[in-house]
Amino acid sequence: MKVFCPTCSISIILFFVLGPVEQAFALQTHGGPEGLYAHQLAHLFFIVGMGSFAYRIHRSWLPKQHGWKYFVIGGMLFMAWNLWAFTGHFITLLVPEKNFILPEGRLVPLLHITSWKERLYYVLSMDHLLCVPALICFYFGLRRILTMLSRRSIKDNEQV
């Protein structure tokens, strides 16, 4: 099946370029919210990727080997972190700027708690409680794999 027809393609492009008589913007603008949406979508993509990663490892023969179960736990923690951060970004938008107060002589600001939003923001800001353990899990997993491979390598060399 012929998918690309040069004549048709050129005609369509010319129609869209020369056809409209109204003001044409050469480039699409990237307004403020676009960055946030892109970031939030990236968080969702991260969740899907990590979920698939953890699930595939869990279903495969790998968890029977040393270390891989840590990758499953790490992947799940990263999924939770993404969800945590995803919610955190939205909540940040809901907390008014005026609630962050920096009194005279203080280095660190204070948060004026007026509703559940500020409380939730406070909790969700501590997202390192999830992503650091996730990374530690990956590290343990890698260490175990390295130890196993090193032992195997020594064994192979002894056999040779």
Binding site: G49, I57, L111, M126, H128, L142, L149
Partner: protein, 363 residues
């Protein structure tokens, strides 16, 4: 009610530093794993995964730390300029990690396929070792047989002559008792020598001990299985059309397996990717026919007439010991082998065994 953001600030800064350190350690360990086995797909994957995790941790943590530093330096406005850059890089690392982790699905399939192939290779290697052992046994057996035959030939005749002459001398001449005893002793020794020769001849008779009734279809299946990985690697199809029912025949299964494997390997070697090899078995006029036909490059006509000659050379193409040895094996089974080929049109090898060797019903 006012809550201090100090705990959050402390947790954020320390968390960022810990993230950088741990992700760096992860990268270092993944690098070590990779260098332990550079050809392992999983090691390479882990390295890529850790590179992405390190990039993510670094971009995120540096962004956060920079934000706090600028805040305390009273340069809060500067952060407004840096924030989009830091955020974009951070978003990019999310996408990279997402892509790498999603790729694990494909990776797992590749690893699984590699493990399966490795298993196949190990199995083929075991079979090859067993076949090699069989070949060694065959060679050793034949060497022993030839040695026995040679000794029998070289020693039997002189011993028989000596024995005969001594017998004649004993009859013709009247010897005293002492000399008679000496002659008897010579005769006794020649008898001993003849007995020794007979024992050597027994070694020759052992040659037939491997002949047994075998199903040739089963043997073809095993041989086909043996070369299947080579054929798959080259993109050559091996199609087998067996005769309906069992084809039991009196053969040395080890030798016939060597023959079929060698012919199939030759056929694969002569085939280009996309070509096919057909194996068929049938009975014709009290003969069991085994045909191996390929659609490969064929054999040049000047070489075809010398194909069974060892080390015959024509231009760049040379014959080895394989086909002469195969013909020898077929001959020992009272069979025949013929090769028809046209250059560019493939080759057809026909092996015929007399059905009388087994329990085949003559068609």
């Amino acid at each position: 009610m006012y809550w201090s953001l100090f705990p959050i600030w402390i947790l954020d800064v320390s968390g960022c530093l810990v993230m950088i350190i741990i992700s760096f350690l992860c990268l270092a360990v993944a690098r070590k794993i990779y260098y332990l086995d550079t050809e392992n797909a999983l090691s390479a994957y882990l390295l890529w995964f850790c590179v992405a995790i390190f990039a993510f941790s670094l971009s995120r943590s540096l962004g956060h730390i920079l934000k706090h530093v600028l805040f305390f330096a009273g340069l809060k406005d500067w952060w407004q300029s840096f924030s989009p850059i830091s955020g974009s890089i951070n978003t990019m690392t999310f996408v990279i990690i997402g892509a790498i982790t999603l790729f694990f699905n494909r990776m797992e399939k590749i690893i699984h396929r590699m493990a399966r192939d490795k298993e196949k290779i190990e199995k083929a290697s075991c079979e090859l070792l067993s076949l090699n052992k069989d070949m060694e046994d065959i060679v050793s057996e034949r060497t022993r047989a030839e040695m026995a035959l040679r000794i029998a030939h070289e020693v039997r005749n002189p011993v028989a002559i000596i024995g005969g002459l001594v017998q004649r001398l004993k009859k013709k001449v009247s010897w005293d008792k002492k000399e008679q005893e000496k002659l008897d002793s010579v005769l006794k020794q020649t008898d001993k020598l003849e007995l020794l020769i007979s024992r050597f001849e027994c070694l020759v008779s052992e040659k037939s001990k491997h002949f047994a009734e075998e199903d040739i279809c089963k043997l073809i299946d095993e041989s086909r299985e043996f070369v299947l990985s080579d054929a798959e690697a080259k993109g050559v199809d091996i199609l087998y059309t067996p005769h309906t029912g069992k084809l039991n025949i009196q053969i040395d299964a080890r030798l016939i397996k060597v023959v079929i494997v060698h012919l199939l390997r030759n056929a694969i070697h002569a085939c280009d990717p996309g070509a096919s090899i057909r194996i068929s078995t049938d009975i014709h006029d009290c003969w069991l026919e085994l045909i191996i036909q390929d659609t490969g490059r064929g054999i040049p006509s000047d070489l075809l007439s010398h194909i069974f000659e060892p080390f015959y050379s024509s231009g760049e193409i040379k014959t080895g010991l394989g086909l002469p040895y195969i013909r020898q094996i077929i001959k020992e089974h009272k069979g025949s082998i013929s090769i028809e080929s046209q250059e560019g049109n493939g080759t057809r090898v026909t092996i015929r065994f007399p059905a009388l060797l087994g329990e085949l019903a003559c068609a």
